[in-house]
Symmetry: C2
Subunit: 119 residues, 2 copies
């Protein structure tokens, strides 16, 4: 029973993209997978060979990484080959840039207003 980001059975909002990305990267094993896939695309078995856990567990982590848009995979025959997906990283980098510096962020917002005076 592993799943997408859900904290408690509370308000039960659907997690946003940035929610899923940070949730996915919050686990060190999943970051290790991303690191490995940054070097070269690998199959599920190849990833599992470098991790101290079962193939099943690796598959579960990959599911979460794919849901977050950080990893993409395609299956040829019985082999699933996994790659990093640039999309998720763009979202992450954007978030980091927006929050890096308070003053800078305030200037950005001011800039946005000036760019599109009405909408």
């Amino acid at each position: 029973m592993r799943g997408a980001p859900k904290k408690k059975a509370k308000a039960e909002k659907p997690p946003s993209e940035i929610d899923r990305i940070f949730y996915a990267l919050g686990d060190p094993t999943r970051r290790a997978i991303v690191e490995m896939l940054s070097e070269e695309s690998l199959s599920v078995s190849q990833l599992a060979a470098h991790l101290p856990m079962t193939l099943t567990a690796v598959g579960q982590h990959l599911q979460i990484l794919e849901d977050s848009g950080l990893v993409r995979s395609d299956k040829a025959g019985r082999i699933r080959t996994c790659h990093v997906a640039t999309a998720g990283f763009a979202v992450l980098e954007q978030w980091a840039r927006e929050h890096r510096n308070v003053w800078e962020r305030r200037l950005d917002r001011l800039g946005d207003l000036l760019d599109q005076p009405e909408k």
Copy 2:
């Protein structure tokens, strides 16, 4: 019993800075706190007023955020005022940039080799 990033009682390595940062941001409540502090510096009570949990819980989240270097705080009298700290964000942005694009990363490494032909 809340604490720093520890998954199981396994190899028990001390978590790195990037470990702590992703762990901290993996929780939606802590990201909400960071968002709020990006607007303006706030006391613990002021943060708690906008969150559906007790003051104690907010204090626990703040501890984790401070350990990660994403938030800084100083206490004047009985009031602890919290601010975003740029340091943690620089680390995060750097990580995102390094992983954004595989090919780009490979080129970077190639560039490094060319820059310093010998150690």
